[in-house]
Amino acid sequence: MKRPDRSQLITLLGYAGAAAIYITIGVLTTDFLLSVFVAAAFLLVTVWVVPAIVRRIV
């Protein structure tokens, strides 16, 4: 099985970080876990919007 390269691992880390935040919020407030639309919006913000803003600032 082919292993992921460095850039793919960095991407995975970003998603894992987003998942850790999502899971923490979800465990504390289970209503947060009920909608795929909320999850998709959360993911868009955490792995696309925020990094794009940070890149623009830095």
Partner: protein, 239 residues
Amino acid sequence: MSWAAHDLEPYAIQRHSRLKIAFVPLLLGSYAPDLMTKWYVYGVHLGPWKLKASEPAQFHRGWPGLGFTHSFLYGAVVCLIFWKVLGSKNWGVSFMIGQWAHALTDAGDTVGTMLLFPWTHHFAVGAWAYAGQTGRSTDAAAYFSGLGGMWDLVWIVYGFYSWRVLTRGYFEQRVFTADGFWRIANKAVPMTALLVFYRAEFFYGTSRWIAWTIWAHVVHDYPYDLSWGGPHWVHAAHS
């Protein structure tokens, strides 16, 4: 009923199908039966009123009720609407495959599904307890304590094993090119955001599986019961 499996199965289907599959309708099909029904199974508050099925399992899976949404016929009818009315065979077939996967997966619990509706016989494997009638929290606790949660875990592990379906290369070569929806969306939304949207359902299925498991077994103390038809500490509905 199943929880995360419906988020995760489309990735496996996408990978293994030899047909040209459109991911968005595949996903819609995978969600469709519960989009129509689950809100009323658990109940919703509308101002001072609570709307809730008096017999949730009957409403969700039975007839009379909306159990036909978990049948092969329902997927076929919507497929024909996409194909003959809206002019997209690809969307029709993809929706049908997703909806059939949902109906087959839900046949794993103790209520089962009327796969061959209008024949109202319930096909029920009975591997895990159907507990939708107990409310969302108890249902989640039961589901993530029995074989249903383990069935979801199979799809999560398989998804990570097939990690290449989640890569940008796979998305651009196989998913984006299979469906004009992505080209149209790409006029307004960058490719990176579309890729995030494509990955979002895998993220959702996996993350909520972990979150509900922590909620049920760390925050609370619901016992695991991986016996057939379990967990037996919850009152399971049967067909």
